[in-house]
Amino acid sequence: MFELPSGAEIQSIIASLTLSVEFFKPEIYLSVLFMLLIVIDLVAKGKKNNLLSITTLLGLAGSIYFIFKQQFMPAGELFFGMYVLDEFAIFFKYFFVLSGILAVIITMADDQFESEVKSMGEYYALIVAMVIGMIMMASSADMMMIFLSMELVSFSAFILTGYFKRNPRSSEAALKYLVYGAVSSGLMVYGFSLIYGLTGQTNLINISSELSLHGYDPLLMILATLLVLAGFGYKIGAVPFHFWAPDVYEGAPTPITAYLSVASKAAGFALLMRFFYIAVPHGGPVYEDILGINWVSLLILISVASMIYGNVVALWQKNVKRLLAYSSIAHAGYLLLGVIVMDAFGTQATLLYLLSYFLMNFGAFYVVILIANKTGSENLEDYRGLGKKMPLAGAALTVFLISLVGLPPTFGFIGKLMIFSALLSKGSLYLWLALIGIMTSVISLYYYMLIPLNMYLRESPSSEEKNMNPGLIPNIIMAVLMFFTIYFGLFFQPLADFAKYGSALFGLKLH
């Protein structure tokens, strides 16, 4: 039986809550934006490049101000340990808001929305909802909050994936996404319940101290880890939790594909890193592993499987979106390499890789959209001869793909360099992982280069003259993205410093 709290206790709870709200402003602001967008949609019905998208853009940009102010606040727990504010969370807040902005920008460029949907209605509101959810994922410090925020992201994403209601592929993708999502979050919650059973705690920091204080049954712990990983692995799209990815990426509206492949994956990584770096005791008692298997070895398995599977299966893809889907599975593997290193350098490398992935993947999808606007197709064969017809788009896509391979002088190379440096800074321990990473990136060259191969080396079958110029603003955006991909490949210091800033986690005893 619970006793009712006394007046003084209620007083202190309220005081604590009002204090926490001070540190919760970006989320509140974004929630207001979310509601505002729904209201605007009711007031001003219309097509896509209207009030709604501009409001979303400006609104998301405005949130940067609140996040910036948080940079000067002390790291700490909010809402009774449900939520934390730390540099790691701030890094991801910027990341998700920028992803949201880019998703809106590339939606505005996509002509498919004109033909597929009547009104953009909830679309932008849902993008904002996803931003909120992902921000909360990156800041959650409690298993309850983790689950709630993850579901917020997932449900928004399900609807967005199926946004082309009359397109069967889109609906199929949404349904598949939903089914896999339901199963994997179910498994994850089961894992959480096992951990709660082991420790009696839901807060990650408390779980860690409880585990290291009283020890734990290794078998149960590894089972719980595996189940939790099913949830996280689904979010980051890693093998063997990847089955939804190719279909969803192919069927979803392309801006959503880009958004999911970058932001949703990053959110998964934020969660993964916070959970495993905080909740699991490090250097604790000997219970750490059973038969030499602990959570790091599970991550290693997943990472190797993702790199090999993603890169090898991509070789046979004929559809560019599907090809990029498999490439995104492979990139989950590379990102996991940085997590495995388990130190500040590794975290920094992972965050930097996420930044590079952000630029090059959004860039690649943006060009794919612009090409699809003109040709109406995402098939590799229809890219033949495009290099001549759309010179800037061709060059930009080539740069993004080279960056995805990881060749200098692009940002993708820096990401890989940092990941491999982090691995090798541990001596020869993880050398074999670096070798697999290196070899699979050679494989990846082949399928990425299929796109420039078709664009430049092959002639277009039809010689009809058609205006293929994507327009001034898309050209500028493309050029800017391409410029940054190369610029940060040569002068990556500011972003690497930012990633280092972001590698500070509250309550971390690991580094």
């Binding site: 130190d343 500040a344 350098f345 590794g346 975290t347 920094q348 001549k388 010179p391 080539t398 080279i402 060749l407 200098p408 002088p409 190379f413 890989k416 360099l417 491999f420 440096s421 090798l424 800074s425 001596g427 020869s428 050398l431 670096a434 070798l435 290196i438 070899m439 990136s441 050679v442 060259l445 082949y446 280069m449 420039p452 191969l453 430049y456 080396l457 092959r458 002068f491 990556f492 210091q493 690497a496 410093d497 280092k500 590698s503 580094h511």
Partner: protein, 542 residues
């Protein structure tokens, strides 16, 4: 100075970007001007170069920059990493005896390549942008003294080369281009891991930080004893050496990694073949001399024998393959493989004579093979075929062409009085005087014999005798009663025209001059090579 010579082509490329693609002539002229300016800077470097300074490494107690010249050193990236580590990358350029001749060669071949590209009609703008990017990257590789910078330039060469072969190449270009790309990338990605490993193993003696500086890495005193590639980790040092060696050997190309080269050459347009054979292959052996050997001297010392054997295989296998070719360009490609074998043999000798010979051979092979490919291009332009048995008797109808061909062919087979002879002779002197490579050298001498065989045989079949019945050209009896040659859709001059002569004559002059008086080159490289040999010799033997 060095920044200028590296980035001139890129600047030209940016200018070309702004020129509308219909202005083909302007695009060509801008490229030519950049190449000529590069040549002027190269000459200035050559004149100002002080041959007494050895370079290679700083040496114990030496100045931090070593005795490099025209040094440009700026901090580029200075990054605090998580934990205690930091990442320091420098923009570090410099020249010593090993690179100075390569810079001159690169400038020369790039300029000739631009002239040779004059006949390219398809997508001229794109072509020259990529060409200039390639030229910059090549030059950058030769002057970079920071491993990271070197790696960036090294990888930067791949993409332009892929497109240059892939878009402007022959019928089987897709295959050749991706094969080139995959092979070289396969070699270089492993280099990336070694580079990172070296970074964690070497400390800059001045700042005490980890460093990518090749000058610091070439001094074994700067290694951390227990680091992954430190002196205590013998196994990893052997593996790292092998990985680097394979990475560079793919570029050379060394048997058994050579199969991309004939394909690339056959499909590539003439100017790209010229660049490929004239400069790109040298990067492989240059990388060995600059990075692979001095960073792991003890491993080099232990593997001289193996390198020598591979050199001999290259020489003889390449010559045999050349002997069997029907396609003139493929024959020249295999002759390249054979001649790069001499470089490997000279390096394997590990003594001054051998190394000087190898470096000199790199220069000479650059000029001679550039000539060979240009000459093959000349006949291909006219007849649209390169089959050796489709000609015969050309000498009497194209006398100037035949004369230059004769010089080039004889230079390639190593006739005394031409530059190829001196370098091959030096290589053999070196290889015979080293006990390790003496037996290998004895076998390799056969390569000269086979080399003479395929070169003379092809010369005879194409240029001497009478027109073959199914030849790619027709003969007409003109008004003056003499026979005239006629290629069926060739409108230009039958014999070499002014542009072709401008490309070929300088090379002929260089070949003859350096065959008679090699000191301009040998004088520049000797002190550096001596220093390199000293670095490579283990203390026990020194």
């Amino acid at each position: 100075m060095l920044s200028l010579i590296v980035f001139l082509p890129i600047i030209a490329g940016l200018i070309i970007l702004a020129v509308p693609s219909s202005q083909k002539q302007i695009i060509r002229i801008v490229s030519l001007l950049a190449a000529l300016a590069q040549g002027v800077v190269a000459i200035l470097i050559w004149r100002a170069y002080d041959p007494s300074l050895p370079g290679i490494t700083a040496g114990p107690g030496g100045s931090p920059l070593g005795s490099f010249q025209f040094v440009e050193k700026l901090p580029w990236i200075g990054l605090k990493l998580g934990g205690m580590a930091s990442l320091n990358i420098e923009y570090f350029l410099g020249v010593d005896g090993i690179s100075v001749t390569m810079i001159i060669l690169t400038a020369l071949v790039s300029a000739i390549g631009v002239l040779s590209s004059w006949t390219i009609q398809k997508q001229v703008k794109g072509y020259f942008i990529l060409y200039n990017l390639l030229a910059s990257a090549m030059m950058g590789c030769f002057v970079a003294l920071d491993f990271f910078l070197f790696y960036v330039f090294w990888e930067l060469m791949l993409l332009p080369m892929y497109f240059l072969i892939g878009i402007w190449g022959g019928p089987n270009r897709e295959y050749a281009a991706i094969k080139f790309f995959l092979y070289t990338l396969f070699g270089s990605v492993f280099m990336l891991l070694v580079m990172i490993g070296l970074y964690f193993s070497v400390l800059d003696p001045v700042t005490g930080n980890h460093t990518f500086s090749l000058v610091a890495m070439a001094n074994q005193a700067n290694y951390i004893q227990d680091a992954i590639l430190g002196p205590h980790n013998v196994m990893w040092r052997y593996i790292a050496f092998a990985v680097l060696f394979i990475g560079f050997a793919i570029k050379v190309p060394m048997f058994p990694f050579h199969t991309w080269l004939p394909d690339a050459h056959v499909e590539a347009p003439t100017p790209i073949s010229v660049i490929l054979a004239g400069v790109l292959l040298k990067l492989g052996t240059y990388g060995m001399m600059r990075i692979n050997f001095p960073l792991f001297p003890e491993v080099f010392h232990a593997s001289m024998y193996i390198i020598g054997i591979f050199g001999a295989i290259n020489i003889i296998y390449g010559a045999f393959c050349a002997l069997a070719q029907q396609d003139l360009k493929k024959m020249v490609a295999y002759s390249s493989i054979s001649h790069m074998g001499y470089v490997l043999l000279g390096l394997a000798a590990g003594n001054s004579e051998g190394m000087v010979g190898a470096l000199y051979q790199m220069f000479n092979h650059g000029t001679i093979t550039a000539m060979l490919f240009l000459l093959v291009g000349v006949i291909y332009d006219r007849a649209h075929t390169r089959q050796i048995d489709k000609f015969g008797g050309l000498a009497s109808y194209m006398p100037v062409y035949a004369a230059i061909v004769t010089v080039a062919w004889f230079a390639s087979l190593g006739l005394p009085g031409l530059s190829g002879f001196i370098s091959e002779a030096l290589v053999f002197v070196g290889a015979f005087s080293s006990i390790t490579t003496r037996p290998i050298a004895m076998v390799s001498v056969l390569g000269i014999l086979f080399g003479a065989a395929y070169l003379l045989w092809s010369l005879q079949r194409v240029f001497l005798g009478k027109r073959k019945p199914d030849a790619a050209y027709d003969l007409e009896v003109g008004a003056d009663g003499h026979e005239h040659i006629h290629f069926h859709d060739w409108k230009g001059k039958i014999d070499l025209d002014a542009r072709e002569l401008t490309m070929l004559v300088p090379l002929v002059v260089i070949t003859i001059f350096l065959g008679i008086y090699p000191m301009p080159v040998l004088g520049m490289i000797t002190s550096s090579v001596n220093k390199l040999v000293e670095v490579l010799t283990p203390l026990a033997i020194r």
